[in-house]
């Protein structure tokens, strides 16, 4: 399930719903990305998507993760638009038989979302706005999964 939304979302509600009724998935891993305040240096984020493409690209990534890590299921919720410090930006959920696959798939999906999903992030602060681009570490992290 991929959900691109310009409204705040409750990560816990999504986790409880995702985990409910799983009789054979011993492992549910999740990653929740929150907007950082950077000690007052970031007053808001703005996430731009290409709605016609972003959902289908994330969906393709999720399908790849499901195959590659033998997942039972995976879901991504991603905020777009203006986001205040402390608010959830992204939630990735993975379910697998055992923990290694669930963890690795969650890690993989986050690395790809950070550098390869059609999303653009602008950070607003007291001295103006700047576009955020993937860091060296983000790019190196994504490279780890190249097969």
């Amino acid at each position: 399930m991929i959900n691109l939304t310009d409204q705040p979302f409750d990560p816990g509600e999504a986790l409880t719903r995702f985990a409910a009724g799983r009789l054979e998935s011993g492992a549910v891993a999740s990653f929740l990305g929150l907007a950082r305040g950077e000690a007052g240096q970031a007053t808001a984020l703005e996430l731009e998507a290409w709605p016609e493409l972003t959902t289908s690209e994330i969906s393709r990534l999720v399908d790849e993760a499901c195959r590659r890590f033998s997942l039972h299921d995976a879901a991504v919720i991603h905020r777009t638009g203006k986001i205040a410090p402390g608010e959830p930006i992204v939630l990735v959920l993975t379910a697998a038989g055992h923990r290694r696959e669930a963890f690795d798939a969650c890690d993989f999906l986050m690395d790809y979302l950070k550098s390869r999903a059609p999303l653009w992030k602008k950070e607003f602060g007291p001295s103006g706005a700047r576009w955020v681009e993937p860091t060296e570490r983000d790019l190196a992290d994504a490279e780890r999964w190249r097969q």
Partner: protein
Amino acid sequence: MIRVLLFGRLCDIAGWREIEVAPPPERLSDLRRRLAETWPDLAHALGGPGVKVAIDRAVVQGDMALRPGAEVAFMPPMSGG
């Protein structure tokens, strides 16, 4: 006519998000030249590192031919999550 879409910092540089270019340029390089006439800063940014080009929603590389009615998107480095 060719539809051109910009994302992220490219919109800020150009001052627009979407335009139509007519008559339709034949190749990507013709489109870049056409954009450079009116928005030289944008044309410079389009050649910057990590800017990807999608034609009709498929990422392409090199100087592709453009069909009339094509949608060309310029995408700066992505940064979700």
